[in-house]
């Protein structure tokens, strides 16, 4: 962990308008995330965990307020710019893995690399490295449906890290897995945080999963209550 800020969210307001109804999810949220932290976010269903993750990942925008990433405001970037920003900085890990069912493991992992101007050889090398890191080198040619849930999530992690982003965003990455498998996944995330310095923000309902993080936050009624570390949050 360093003292440099990766994220600085200022006065975030988020409202969803559906028809004439307007639901306010955040109303003046302030939070910072330091580089190299493993943050877990817990909170009741509907409290806005996924919404926050989406805004951090640049797939959703705040209604007002500022999201500074390494000092740069990202909330007003255009679609194309934002897509480029995501490709460069963010790896997503989903509860249901979101693998492409018709592609085998290595083709799935290769996808983010197609956004970069790399040779086939360079891509293969990165894919191999990523799959090795998650311990799935021997399953490179398997289709998702031929893999267990835990293995699929490993492929998804390999896909998230293959282009070496600074940030991993995980929405209930172990929500669909049994305890043993979940632990393996969490240990992998921990490794990525400790050994490779990835900043990780993970939403979870599971207190055991949360304990793998070095900062645990609790979200309720649009505000954070810090539970363990005080280092990462201002």
């Amino acid at each position: 962990m360093s003292n440099e800020l990766l994220f600085d969210l200022k006065n975030i307001e988020k409202r969803f308008v559906r028809g004439r109804e307007s639901i306010s999810i955040f109303d003046g949220l302030n939070i910072t995330i330091k580089k190299g932290t493993f943050v877990s976010i817990m909170g009741p269903s509907g409290s806005g965990k996924t919404t926050l993750l989406n805004m951090l990942g640049g797939v959703d925008r705040p209604t007002s307020g500022e999201i500074l990433f390494e000092g740069q405001a990202i909330q007003n970037l255009g679609e194309g710019e934002l897509a480029k920003w995501r490709a460069r900085h963010v790896g997503f890990i989903f509860q249901f893995y979101n693998l492409m069912p018709m592609l085998n493991a290595e083709k799935n992992v290769e996808l983010p690399l197609l956004l970069k101007n790399l040779s086939k050889a360079q891509r293969n090398k990165s894919v191999e490295t990523a799959l090795k890191l998650v311990g799935l080198s021997d399953r490179a040619r398997h289709l998702p449906k031929e893999l267990s849930g835990g293995q699929q999530q490993r492929v998804a992690i390999a896909r998230a890290i293959v282009s070496d982003p600074d940030l991993l965003l995980c929405d209930e990455p172990t929500g669909d897995l049994d305890r043993t498998t979940a632990t393996e996944i969490l240990e992998t995330l921990q490794l990525l945080n400790k050994e490779f310095g990835k900043t990780i923000v993970m939403v979870t309902h599971d207190p055991v999963a949360a304990s793998f993080a070095n900062v645990s936050l609790h979200l309720d009624k649009g505000q954070f209550i810090e539970q363990q570390s005080s280092e990462a949050v201002a």
Binding site: T50, N54, A83, R86, M102, L111, L114, N117
Partner: protein
């Protein structure tokens, strides 16, 4: 830019790989396009086959003369004196026997179609001594020529293949007389192959036509010849004749078939709208089924345009496979099959369906249009897929 191409081709590949997942609706679309194309090609093959037969029938250097105002031979009638008078016109080529001219007359006789065992009208045509050689691409392939004054006929190969009872040596009764088939001729797929030929004088005698004719054919002696003949007719008040090249005459006769081809297009386009609706539905379903995948790719950083092209190509591939299938079906079912239909003179013209390269092209173009339009709107939706779909489980 290299990256954009890589994105698009990756998504295209993914979409094509996912096609077998929705076998049902994909196959339905594919077959719908195939049927549309088959129908279109059937009409085109028919029209083009007929036109080819008609066009193949006429020579540029043979003129046909009919009574003034009678558009077709059937309505025409000429006295023997007309024949005599016009034979001295300039513009008519000559050989050692004098002007190359054939006074002709035909009567309608019955024949039994092999395919349906029903009776249909056939022309029994009497021709003058020069009549046979005046016809393009015609040759005797079996037996011998009929003799003047005898009730002998020669039959075209098209008749032989479509009608029963005309084999070499057969005898049959037309009018009050028995006739014998003494020869078989091939007319290179032209309309002449659909006729029975005999000596014109014999025909006049057997059917009580005195010395009248319906048409006169002459060989022209040059490009100006037809005008010379017209001038000659103009200058002789006893002559009231329309003169045209044989080619002009037959292409005129085939104009109705051209209309049939247009009708075929109309029907095909109408059906194409149905296939289009099917394609749209299939592709919208496909986009819906892939919503999470598309959104996930977008979240990773793929551009919307890759989803657009992925969907469009998927639709195009379905439609083109359908189109190719349709042309194959049309080719297998229709190409080269012979059929006969009413020609311009209420007798049967035997012609071959002709599935041409041109027809193939039209079929594929129609399929591509269905694929493009049927894919465009779903592709647009795919490219606008909200990213949040990836995150809402």
């Amino acid at each position: 830019m290299g990256s954009l191409f890589a994105q698009i081709s990756a998504v295209v590949k993914m979409n094509l790989l996912s096609l077998p997942k929705r076998v049902g609706s994909s196959l339905t679309t594919l077959l719908a396009v195939a049927i549309v194309v088959t129908v279109l090609l059937a009409f085109m093959a028919m029209g083009q086959g007929f036109q080819k037969t008609m066009a193949g029938s006429g020579s540029e250097d043979v003129a046909i003369m009919l009574r003034g105002g009678s558009a077709a031979e059937l309505n025409s009638g000429l006295g023997g004196d007309v024949y005599t008078n016009v034979s001295s016109s300039p513009g008519i080529a000559k050989d050692e026997n004098g002007p190359i001219i054939s006074g002709e007359l035909y009567v309608v006789v019955d024949g039994v179609k092999k395919s349906s065992q029903t009776e249909a009208n056939l022309p029994l045509r009497g021709i003058g001594p020069a009549g046979f050689s005046l016809r393009k691409n015609i040759s005797l392939i079996d037996g011998r020529m009929f003799e003047e004054g005898k009730t002998e006929i020669i039959v075209g190969t098209s008749i032989l293949s479509q009608f029963s009872g005309f084999e070499l040596g057969s005898k049959m009764k037309f009018g009050a007389t028995e006739w014998t088939v003494v020869g078989v001729f091939d007319a290179g797929g032209s309309v002449f192959g659909s006729e029975l030929l005999t000596d014109v004088r014999t025909l006049q005698a057997q059917f009580n036509r005195g010395n009248s004719y319906q048409s006169i054919r002459v060989r022209l002696d040059g490009p100006e010849a037809i005008q010379k003949i017209r001038d000659f007719i103009e200058s002789d008040p006893r002559l009231n004749l329309d003169v045209m090249t044989e080619q002009a005459y037959y292409s005129d006769q085939s104009r109705d078939m051209g209309r049939l081809v247009y009708m075929g297009w109309g029907l095909a386009i109408f059906m194409a709208l149905g296939a289009l609706a099917g394609a749209l539905n299939t592709m919208y379903t496909s986009v819906e089924a892939k919503a999470v995948e598309i959104a996930t790719l977008r979240a990773i950083g793929f551009k919307g345009i890759s989803a657009f092209f992925g969907t469009l190509v998927e639709s195009l591939v379905l439609a083109i496979i359908g189109g190719v299938l349709g042309t194959l079906i049309a080719f297998l079912l229709f190409d080269g099959i012979s059929t006969s239909t009413m020609g311009g003179s209420f007798t049967q013209v035997v012609f071959d369906f002709n599935v041409s390269a041109d027809a193939f092209k039209s079929g594929i173009i129609l399929a591509v249009i269905i694929g493009l339009v049927g894919g465009f709107f779903p592709a647009w939706r795919a490219s606008r897929m909200p990213l949040l779909k990836a995150f809402s489980s």
